[in-house]
């Protein structure tokens, strides 16, 4: 009897737990994502996943649509010289030295708690961004802002003391907040005042105060009022599980037809393991995934597994996977292998069948020949494609004095009486596709007599400054492989802020210090971890940064790419792809271009065709 009772109770409990969460039946959507944001703070954070998530309940002054066109968001229109909202000041040589941009916020723009969005919010946002005590991850664009002035409740003017070609773009380039430009003053103002008061009282505790009170504020951790400017409003965040949002009735952008035809709730569930995420999709618990979570999976396999119930889309990510060479003369091992001689790098790129590699390790990826991606300002599609050519690779290596004199299959040469074997160290993270890459490169380079010594280390080790920035001390002594954001042609990845430059020639007067090449003299600072120093490239970069005309800038950027493609300080392997899975019937869940920097840019249009949502993308 007791046993039967237990079974009945268990059955009731299990049945009570059955719940319909997403899908057309409820007009909701459950998205699966592998990475959770650290917080919802508008100023701090870097991960793509946060850009996606913030996009559900925020919209910037502008946004980039799925065709790559910049559209006004909170702003009434995009400032241009022709509409008088952009005023540029040029010097005698015609170069832009300063610029002023006037923005007007829409009259019908409200925060999700009903408070109007005003110029005061914008000015406050910049005040926080510009407060030196504040833990703000980067000030790359806000440092260009000279002042921001309120004109009226809805209009404000930003003055840039240095030209900012990306003055109207997304991703923090306007210079206010990193995420979605404007933050709600009525929510964050009291937090800011409290934090600053505490720091003033105990300046020695600034970091713990900011971590605890600012990044740990209820509006940041989702334990208090989270207010946004977007189509959906925040409902709850169960940490390590999910975040829920509900449609706003008072959002100013609308899709065709009644709002009730479109999604009413969006839930983002965090699932770390790819097999579990995939199981969730197959089990019908997840109806779509973000553009990060299924990276590296084979689209054809996914299509076969999911059948007609789902759509699998492959798009460019804007990230280029590449081999970075140690070019520091001080690293003896690298110097012995002649890595500093461009012919060595040219031989290596021709010894790698990059088409085959991309197809095998990163399905959907396309071979890259530049440090930019398609869509960037000045992207040059006509660069030397460096086709797979073993004969050419062998000839170049022979010209450099390499020969397999002992017949063991590995090249040798003699320097000052020292016999040197071509043993090339390669290091990358432990991501599955990189482990596979190591194996494939090992086989390919063996064909030209290069013995690749493969090492896969955790990402936290590979990307640590003690490791990556100490190539001059041979912490890594051959190649380190990782991906870098392509130029995008938009902020925050200004094509000219990449890792290739060595000396910032924009300073007045120009000094000889190599600011961007990690050396003991600059405390190993900088992002040019290869140690590639090209005065010509640096000059072109400086010229391009001073050039405000997009066409002229494009021409200079093309010259930079030609130089890069010839010198190959890094060997570009492929433009990485991203995979998005969505259930059949989910419309307008369309990834923006790489320039948009976010997948979730048009949540107000998302809906189920079964419920009358109209596909406009």
């Amino acid at each position: 009897m007791r046993y039967r009772m237990s079974v009945v109770v268990l059955g009731i409990l299990l049945a009570a737990g059955l719940a319909v969460l997403g899908g057309p039946a409820s007009n909701n959507l459950v998205i699966g994502a592998s990475q959770e944001p650290s917080n919802l703070c508008p100023w701090e954070g870097a991960a793509d996943t946060k850009e996606n998530l913030m996009g559900i309940f925020n919209v910037g002054l502008t946004y980039i649509d799925s065709s790559g066109v910049l559209q006004p968001g909170l702003a009434t229109e995009i400032p241009t010289e022709s509409n008088g909202r952009l005023v540029v000041v040029r010097d005698a040589t015609g170069q832009v030295t300063r610029q002023q941009v006037v923005w007007t916020i829409r009259e019908d723009a409200y925060w999700s708690d009903g408070v109007p969005i005003t110029s005061d919010d914008a000015i406050f946002t910049f005040k926080v961004q510009n407060t030196q005590e504040m833990m703000v991850t980067t000030r790359a664009f806000s440092n260009l802002v000279e002042e921001i002035v309120k004109i009226d409740d809805k209009t404000f003017r930003i003055t840039y003391g240095t030209p900012n070609l990306f003055y109207s773009s997304v991703g923090g380039s306007i210079g206010l907040a990193r995420f979605y430009d404007i933050a709600p003053k009525h929510i964050w103002g009291p937090v800011y005042d409290q934090v600053m008061a505490q720091i003033a009282a105990k300046p020695e505790n600034a970091s713990t105060i900011i971590e605890g009170q600012f990044l740990g504020a209820p509006s940041s951790t989702g334990t208090g009022a989270v207010v946004g400017s977007g189509a959906f409003k925040f409902v709850e965040w169960q940490i390590n599980q999910f975040i829920r949002f509900a449609r706003r009735a008072d959002f100013f952008l609308a899709a065709p037809g009644p709002a009730s035809n479109y999604l009413q709730e969006i839930t983002v569930r965090y699932i770390v393991a790819q097999p579990t995420l995939l199981s969730g999709i197959m089990a019908g618990e997840i109806e779509a995934c973000d553009d990060i979570s299924l990276a590296g999976m084979e689209p054809a396999v996914l299509r076969a597994q999911l059948g007609s119930q789902a759509v699998v889309e492959v798009t460019a990510s804007g990230f280029i996977e590449k081999l970075n060479f140690n070019l520091f003369p001080s690293c003896q091992v690298a110097a012995d292998l002649l890595l500093g001689d461009k012919r060595t790098r040219q031989a290596i790129i021709q010894a790698i069948d990059r088409d085959d590699l991309a197809r095998t390790v990163y399905p959907g990826a396309t071979v890259s020949n530049s440090f930019l991606v398609d869509g960037d300002i000045g992207f040059d599609a006509a660069l030397n494609p460096w086709p797979y050519n073993l004969a050419a690779a062998r000839t170049l290596l022979a010209d450099l004095g390499w020969a397999d004199s002992d017949g063991d299959g590995t090249l040798e040469r003699t320097v000052g009486g020292r016999a040197i074997e071509f043993r090339l160290h390669w290091v990358a993270t432990t991501a599955d596709f990189r482990i596979r890459t190591g194996e494939i490169l090992q086989e390919m380079l063996a064909d030209v007599g290069i013995k690749l010594e493969v090492e896969n280390l955790p990402g936290s080790v590979v990307f640590s400054s003690e490791y990556l920035n100490h190539g001059s001390e041979c912490t890594w002594r051959g190649i380190v492989e990782y991906a870098e954001a392509g130029g995008i042609g938009q902020a925050p990845a200004d094509p000219l802020s990449n890792e290739l430059w060595a000396n910032d020639l924009l300073e007045v007067p120009v000094d000889a210090e190599l600011e961007n090449t990690p050396l003991p003299e600059n405390s190993f600072g900088g992002t040019n971890i290869m140690g590639w120093v090209s005065a010509e490239f640096d000059q072109l970069r400086a010229d391009a940064l001073r050039e405000f005309d997009p066409d002229k800038r494009s021409a200079i950027v093309k010259l930079m790419q030609q130089l890069y493609n010839e010198e190959l300080p890094t060997v570009p392997l492929y433009d990485r792809s991203e995979i998005v899975v969505k259930m059949a019937g989910l419309v307008n869940y369309t990834k923006g271009t790489a320039a948009a920097r976010t997948q979730f840019w048009n949540t107000w249009e998302w809906g189920w065709a079964q419920n009358g949502a109209v596909a406009v993308r």
């Binding site: 009731i12 059955l18 936290s460």
Partner: protein, 323 residues
């Protein structure tokens, strides 16, 4: 006994201090810091930003200076903030992670013990019989199947093939409200991970219990008990089992702290936010505060459970006395 207990508890303080020093030193030796994590995937991050933030967080100081600052905060009950989640590290570990692990590991422990002890005893009492062979084969299968594979198979069968019968993972279904639905929902989410986590323990402990029982029932005192005319039930459960279970108690005592930190595969496959994944992720992304509070907690558990095991010995075995 009381003196012994006080002495052992007092010994915990210097032991924990040395452990904290070692852990902090080891984490500091690991390449990378939280600022490297901020730089990753942030193309606008400049060297000036990097230098500014390192100074801001005091990461430009030697590790022992950072350790003293950390220790100074800890003695005031402040374990710092999780840079991964912007919450107090202790709150993150003890409020959001530990309860999930206690629930999962506790139920798994209970299930494993409830199944393994009777199965082991039964197997021993039916040595070389059908039951013994069946339990032995099942135990070997359980020991041989990796937990992650078992988990994936369970998900495939109960969540994918029988679509919607049980959830594929997670802690709870978003949006479920009401006491009974929440309870039922939690139970549905627990079933598969508990089964997966218990499978290995049940198999191992059954084998262990069987061996121990087999040894015990051949000892003289069991023969004496039988010769005194006690019923077989009394011989087995009152005399033999109490002695045979002693080694299993030791094993469990040593295993319990590991359960709090070591269910990482089960947690990952079933997307169960527990301690194992918290520690792993914290170390990977250089979230030192979370790593330190978690590892210190696990260290404390190891020390405490060693102490508890010793006490349990004394309670179960009247021959053991501490003075």
């Amino acid at each position: 006994m009381a003196t012994y207990l006080v002495r052992r508890v007092l010994q915990l303080i210097p032991t924990l201090f040395v452990i904290s020093l070692l852990l902090f030193g080891l984490l500091a030796m690991k390449p990378g810091d939280p600022i490297d994590e901020m730089r990753r995937g942030n193309p606008g991050f400049t060297q000036a930003d990097y230098d500014r933030l390192r100074e801001f967080y005091g990461l430009d100081k030697p590790w022992y200076v950072q350790y003293w600052r950390w220790l100074g905060r800890v003695v005031h009950g402040d374990f710092g903030t999780s840079r991964q989640f912007g919450r107090p590290a202790a709150e993150y570990v003890f409020k959001y992670r530990l309860p999930n692990t206690v629930l999962l590991s506790g139920l798994s422990l209970l299930l494993s013990f409830s199944v393994a002890v009777p199965a082991g005893v039964w197997s021993a009492l039916r040595q070389r019989g059908f039951v013994d062979y069946t339990i032995t084969v099942v135990s070997f299968v359980g020991v041989s199947i990796p937990i992650f594979w078992m988990g994936i198979m369970l998900i495939y069968i109960f969540a994918v093939q029988f679509r919607g019968f049980l959830p594929a993972g997670g802690l709870a279904t978003p949006g479920v409200t009401g006491t009974w639905p929440i309870l039922g929902d939690r139970l549905r989410h627990l079933l598969l991970p508990v089964l997966a986590l218990s499978s290995l323990q049940v198999a191992q402990w059954t084998r262990f219990m069987r061996s121990s029982m087999l040894e015990t029932i051949q000892l003289d005192f069991v023969v004496t008990a039988r010769s005194k005319g006690l019923s077989e039930r009394q011989v087995i459960f009152k005399h033999a089992l109490r002695n045979a279970i002693l080694p299993l108690i030791t094993l469990m005592g040593l295993n319990v702290p590991a359960l709090f930190s070591g269910a990482i595969l089960t947690e990952t496959v079933f997307n169960w936010p527990g301690m194992g994944r918290a520690i792993y992720d914290a170390i990977l992304v250089n979230d030192f505060n979370v790593a330190m509070v978690s590892l210190m907690f696990i260290s404390l558990l190891v020390l405490l459970f060693n102490l508890l095991t010793d006490i349990a010995y004394a309670l179960v075995d009247p021959r053991i006395r501490y003075g």
